[in-house]
Symmetry: C2
Subunit: 85 residues, 2 copies
């Protein structure tokens, strides 16, 4: 089994209301130096070793991310680019 990390973030320019709320909270606690906060999702998926990057990309496009406003990237040590047939 392999564990793959997918990081989903709002595209640059898309309003991040959650991030703004966190920034205001940090300012209220005295961390005035924080100039911007962006909040995204971090998803760890445990899959069979023979899973491919293409398969994970399809999951992101079809289900995990909203391609209109979000972008995603896969972080893993080593995955074959295609599933062996």
């Amino acid at each position: 089994m392999t564990t793959v990390r997918v990081v989903i973030t709002l595209k640059p320019g898309v309003l991040d209301a959650q991030g703004q709320a966190v920034r205001q909270g940090l300012h209220a606690l005295g961390y005035e130096g924080v100039s911007e906060v962006r909040v995204g999702k971090h998803i760890e998926i445990t899959m069979p070793d023979e899973a491919s990057v293409d398969e994970i990309s399809a999951m992101c496009d079809r289900f995990l991310a909203n391609p209109l406003i979000e972008e995603w990237k896969i972080e893993t040590d080593a995955l074959p680019s295609r599933r062996p047939s």
Copy 2:
């Protein structure tokens, strides 16, 4: 300005209802091989260059994470371990 990434995840053993829902969704789409999904938060904080790891750790402990059920780690290129005085 430096951008620091904080990844907040549920501690091992804590029930991840959101992750289970995502896993069921992926199974329903045909990705039967997915055995586990854990969902966490990915926070990008833009701060002055002189910010220290200690300061970000304090933010996580006081505000960003719930230390009862969550753990966090800081991912950044280079930060001084203490704020210069």
